[in-house]
């Protein structure tokens, strides 16, 4: 059986602005139907990566494929199969919400009018309002409507919720889950870059952490949840040298040790136990805590 063409395939991508390397040797694969997160700090290389997918930048090394197509060679074909919400949403300021949506719809083969109506109502947007009178949250909402109505196979979101208040952020994610994932879920792929991981925790199936242009960790979310543990031990006296090489990170404070494990939890627990700690506790980590732990290494 043939494996399906990935929605996104990035191989050894590199891009530098002048002498500053924004992305270096980045590789990741997004299978169709998955919700994939690209997690990174500000300036880690997320937006540069996004721009290569959209042919706003050409890869300097490596390659990028969207549904098997090269965005540089088949730009129109690629763009017709995806919808994009950028981090800075810009509209023609004199256009109303209605005019903006009509304008954007004119580029699309397909446009679900019913979804448009539902979402305009859900977000309580006034179609007659000029876009320069909209708040940031409202502009993002219009951009999201314009991205969902064409019912493309791929939805690309670049830092979609930064600068938005918590209520708007949650509504955004509910809308992505509700309205975008409608229809054939196997054909609805989401690729989102963000540093606000907590909100997206439930949405993301799989993620890559990018730092300073490099991919640091790629994992399935459930596997990450099962593998990562924070182990704390306190000893009666300053702990002796314990072999904790299997740990991702170790922090020592007086008589206490804090160990972050990526998969080697049970082994590390056993090693610590052998030195008779006063207390020994284990806790699981949220994706955001895993993100922080992976980057502090």
């Amino acid at each position: 059986m043939d494996s399906p063409t990935p929605a996104i395939q990035i191989e050894n991508l590199a891009y530098a602005y002048g002498r500053t390397e924004a992305v270096h040797d980045l590789s990741l694969t997004v299978q169709p139907g998955r919700c994939y997160g690209l997690f990174g700090r500000n300036g880690a290389g997320k937006t540069t990566t996004m721009k290569c997918l959209l042919n706003l930048l050409r890869p300097q090394r490596g390659q990028v494929r969207v549904f098997g197509l090269d965005p540089a060679k088949a730009e129109v074909a690629v763009k017709s199969r995806l919808a994009y919400v950028p981090d800075q949403v810009v509209f023609y300021p004199w256009m109303s919400v209605r005019e903006t949506l009509d304008y954007l719809a004119s580029f699309r083969e397909r446009w679900n009018q019913k979804t448009e109506e539902e979402l305009l109502e859900r977000f309580r947007l006034d179609p007659a309002q000029r876009t320069d009178g909209l708040s940031k949250g409202q502009r993002t909402q219009v951009a999201l409507i314009a991205a969902i109505c064409p019912e493309t196979d791929l939805l690309v979101l670049d830092e979609p919720t930064s600068g938005l208040d918590p209520i708007v952020r949650r509504e955004f994610i509910e809308t992505v889950i509700g309205a975008y994932q409608e229809g054939n879920p196997g054909n609805r792929t989401i690729f989102v870059s963000t540093h606000l991981i907590t909100e997206f925790e439930g949405l993301i199936d799989e993620f890559t952490i990018i730092d300073r242009g490099r991919d640091v960790l790629t994992l399935d979310s459930d596997q990450a949840r099962e593998r990562f543990r924070k182990i704390r031990a306190r000893f009666a006296q300053a702990p002796p040298e314990i072999d904790l090489k299997a740990a991702l990170r170790v922090r020592r404070e007086g008589r206490e040790l804090e160990v972050i494990a990526n998969g080697a939890g049970p082994e590390l627990l056993e090693r610590l136990r052998q030195h008779n700690p006063e207390t020994l506790t284990t806790e699981a980590l949220t994706l955001e805590e895993i993100f922080v732990a992976a980057l502090k290494t």
Binding site: I177, G178, G202, L203, R225, E226, F228, L287
Partner: protein
């Protein structure tokens, strides 16, 4: 039905959901023949990927806990007495595992641990008997 997803539990979300549905069935919060929430509204409410909900339901279906009626939704299956037993066993196993880990940590060896279990069960039986006699007075 109200679900609670714990992102700090170290457990895959779909399994948490499946467990909560099984617990609801065992406790009677969900009755045989009753419908499970539809995937889309539940996913939106929990802010969880639809695939995850689908995976939880799929898991329950393969365990014979629920059945899917095309176009109608997912329903708790009628006869799941096995489920009740399985759920109860599982819950007890979790408690037993915790006690075993504690015993190890407190350096109580296996024979002594098992002896203690017998002792405690005897003590409880004694107490129950005493209560019955007391009630009969």
């Amino acid at each position: 039905m109200i679900f609670q997803i714990n992102f700090k539990s170290g457990m895959p979300i779909y399994l948490q959901l499946a467990d909560q549905i099984k617990a609801a069935a065992a406790s009677g919060a969900l009755r045989p023949g009753e419908a499970l929430p539809s995937i889309r509204p539940l996913a939106e409410e929990l802010r969880v990927n639809r695939n995850t909900i689908a995976k939880a339901y799929s898991e329950l279906e393969s365990l014979g806990v629920i059945e899917t009626l095309p176009g109608r939704g997912c329903f708790l299956k009628e006869n799941h007495s096995d489920l009740r037993k399985e759920v109860r066993r599982k819950l007890l196993i979790e408690e037993i595992d915790q006690a075993i880990v504690q015993a190890h940590h407190l350096q109580v060896p296996r024979p002594e641990f098992l002896e203690l279990v017998q002792e405690r069960m005897d003590a409880l039986d004694e107490k129950r008997r005493a209560n019955v006699i007391h009630k009969e007075d």
